[in-house]
Structures are given as C-alpha cells and as structure tokens.
Symmetry: C2
Subunit: 241 residues, 2 copies
C-alpha cells in the first residue's frame, strides 16, 4: 500500500475538501473532529428508542444503519464508511427510526445540533458541503433502491461490493479493487435483501469464476470489467471524478 501524503488527511476533510476556501473554514472543518472516541464492534451509536441529541462523524472503521422488524428480521439500510455522518437524520428530525451500530473497531467524533447550526451561520460554503453530503447519501440510497428493486442477487451483490470499493477509495485513496472487509456474509445478505444461505452461494459462484477472492479479511475484486458489466455499475452517483 503506497501511502501518499493525501492518505494522512482525515477522511471527512478529504471528503469535504472542495468546500473549504479560507483558513477559518479549514479550522472549522477540523473542529468537527477534535474530540474523538473509540468504539468496539457491536456497540450502538444511535437508536430508534431514544430521542437523538448527538450524531457522529465516522473517522475509522465500518458501521451500519439498520432497522429491525417485528418478526426479528433485520434490514441494513447502509454501510457507513470513514467520512460519513452517523445519525445525522436523528438530530435533524429529533428522532430516527433506525439504529446505527459499529461493525468493526471504530473512531468517531461527536456532532451536536448547535455546532451544526453555528457552522451554517459561519460558513455558507461549508453549509453547502454538508448539504452536498446529505445529497450524496440520498443518491446512494436511490441507487440501493434500484439495486434491490430491479437486479437479481448476483448483480446486486457485485454492485454493492464495487460501490464499497469506490467509496473507500474516495475517502482513503486506497485501491478500489482491494479493501478490508470486516463484515459477515449475513450482514451482506441483510443489506441486499436476500438470505445468508443464498448470499453464500452467490459469493461462492463469484469466487469459482475467479471474479473476486478473499484473503483473510481482505476482499479483492479481480476482474473489474466483468464485474462492472454484471452489475451494470456506473459510478456517477458517488460523485467521483
């Protein structure tokens, strides 16, 4: 892994760098991340049960937003990666009807409503950046809706795996075809709306075809052209350039 100077920059700062023009704005942006906290896998960061007063900014590791249905089944709404907000909907609406949990070891910083609002006053540019970030989440969710609504299990799976690689690349400068994969097949299945049994068969097929492989906890997408064709993947919605 070639770690250039960019790689040292914080994920959130890298994500929003386009919305920083002055030194004051840079400082403001960095102030978001000042107080950091370490969280273990499985720990809850936001819950539908209690009114939300604080959200988080995810700096390292993976989290997920999910909803549990009355029959006990769970649907993962989105995997949250470094640079993403966690529970922002909760503080903007005063409540959030789904939960957010750490999937790996995670580093977060807290964001409260008043800090967010004061940012709006102090820097319209950064305000635009936060709006941009919300819009991007909407674009991602729209793509997920299309993914689950229209594609079969194979295409769905591949689409998500490519997306995760791209998103990590944008924020960490890493190789989009190779990344740490800290989640189980069951988690994946719950994000894609299929059973873990079927998820297993789909992944086995992809490995048999040498389209991807796993080395320990690292996933490698071996044949991107073919994978992108299978999934009909167009990165535009991630706002990559």
């Amino acid at each position: 892994m070639n770690k250039g100077s960019l790689d040292r920059r914080d994920a959130f700062e890298r994500k929003l760098h386009r919305f920083v023009s002055t030194e004051a704005e840079r400082a403001l942006l960095q102030s978001f991340s000042s107080v950091r906290r370490r969280i273990a896998p499985g720990e809850e960061l936001a819950s539908a049960d209690r009114p939300s007063k604080i959200a988080y900014l995810l700096h390292e590791g993976w989290a997920c937003a999910y909803k549990v249905l009355p029959d006990g089944s769970r649907h993962i709404i989105d995997f949250r990666l470094p640079g993403d907000f966690l529970g922002l909907v909760g503080i903007l609406m005063g409540k959030q009807e789904y939960d957010v949990t750490a999937l790996s070891n995670v580093v977060v910083s807290e964001v409260n409503t008043s800090r967010l609002i004061s940012t709006f006053r102090e820097s319209p540019l950064l305000a635009e950046g936060i709006l941009w970030s919300l819009s991007r989440d909407i674009a991602i969710m729209a793509e997920h809706l299309v993914n689950i609504g229209r594609r079969d299990a194979l295409a769905r799976t591949v689409h998500l795996l490519i997306e995760l690689g791209y998103r990590l690349n944008q924020v960490q400068g890493s190789d989009p075809t190779t990344y740490e994969f800290p989640i189980t097949q069951k988690d994946l299945a719950e994000a894609l709306g299929i059973t873990h049994v079927h998820m297993n068969r789909v992944l086995r097929y992809l490995r048999n075809q040498r389209l991807l492989s796993f080395n320990g906890n690292t996933i490698v997408l071996n044949d991107m052209p073919t994978l992108m064709r299978i999934a009909d993947f167009e990165p535009g919605y991630l706002d990559s350039r």
Copy 2:
C-alpha cells in the same frame, strides 16, 4: 371535503411552518413559490442526461423520480407529492443520476442554487428547515429500502399506499384514508420492485378482501387497522405528530 383555512395554505409552507418565526422568514419562504409553472403529465422536470442548474418545488399534483436501466426496465425511486423538492440532489451535486417526471398535471416553482444558498445566509432557521426536509427524504427512502428488502409484495404494496395517504394528509390536511390516485398499476409495480401482472393480483386480492377500493381515480383504504397490521406500518419516519 371540509376545507378549513389551513387547507388554503401552500403545501410547502405548511410543510415547513415549524421553521418560520419572523415575518421576514415567512416572506422568504413564500418567495420560493412566487414564479409558478404548469406542467403536463409525462413532462420531464430533471434528467440524468444534462447537468442540473435548477430544481423545483412541487405545489400541486404528483411526480416521480426514477431510473431507467440498460435493459429498458424502470425503477421508481419515489413518488413526489406537493411540498416536496424535485431534483434538489441535482443542483447540490451538480448532476443527478435519475430522472424526474410529472405523473399528473402539476404546478411547480423554480429553485436555483444561489437562491438556496442565500437562504442559508439570511435565515439559519429556514436552513434548518431545508436540512430537515432532506433528512425526511432520507428517512422515507430508508423505509422504502426496508420495504422492498424485507416485505413480500402484499405488505410492500399496503405500506406504500398507507404512506402516500399520510404524506398527503400532512401537506393538504386531507383524509389519510382517501386520496386521488393518479398513477397506474404499472407505476406502482415499478416503485415496489414487482411486475405489473403481480401488482394486479395483489390489488385484486386487497379489493376482494374489502381492505381497499377504487372509485374512479380515488383510492379508499377501508380497513386501516388491518392494513396497518399487514404492512407493519409505523408512521414515525414521516415525522407526523
């Protein structure tokens, strides 16, 4: 239909009334809707093909956001109702990877980026309102993901139909169990990720069970308690009070 004084208020103003405290803010809010335009069904309001410079505010009628896949199939991401923004993601990200089209006769007003940004400067409260509106869209899309990902065709259908009634009620003060339904079974199917043939069978079942009925273009949800049980519907995500 009992039209109280509230019903005369514009959908957008009604939706954001919590974020208005001063007269200046009220004026600012109303200025969003000043220049209105009438659009016919089927007309395109935003497209993935061209960079977006303007978004719209929907005042009357229904629209939908959708994406067309290479194989020609279409997935409807969301039905947009009065008070909703159309194509906001487009102007915030500079592009939008899906299209927005009017489903009925529609009245819109234009929103451009600079107007939006200047609002942020002039009124932090209204800025919060716009953030709230985006958050609500995210909450709705999250629920749709759960809907398509975890529920069968019957529950999915009922969930969406109840949701639309609630959303219209919030913004028009109408009866949530009875509303104008300007879309086809095919549209519904494309929003729910099932075929129009199966959509037809599901709707016939619901009519046979007298759980809902259609009078011309009006849908009537006859047995809300049963319907809400079928769909496992919880209105919290719509921020209804």
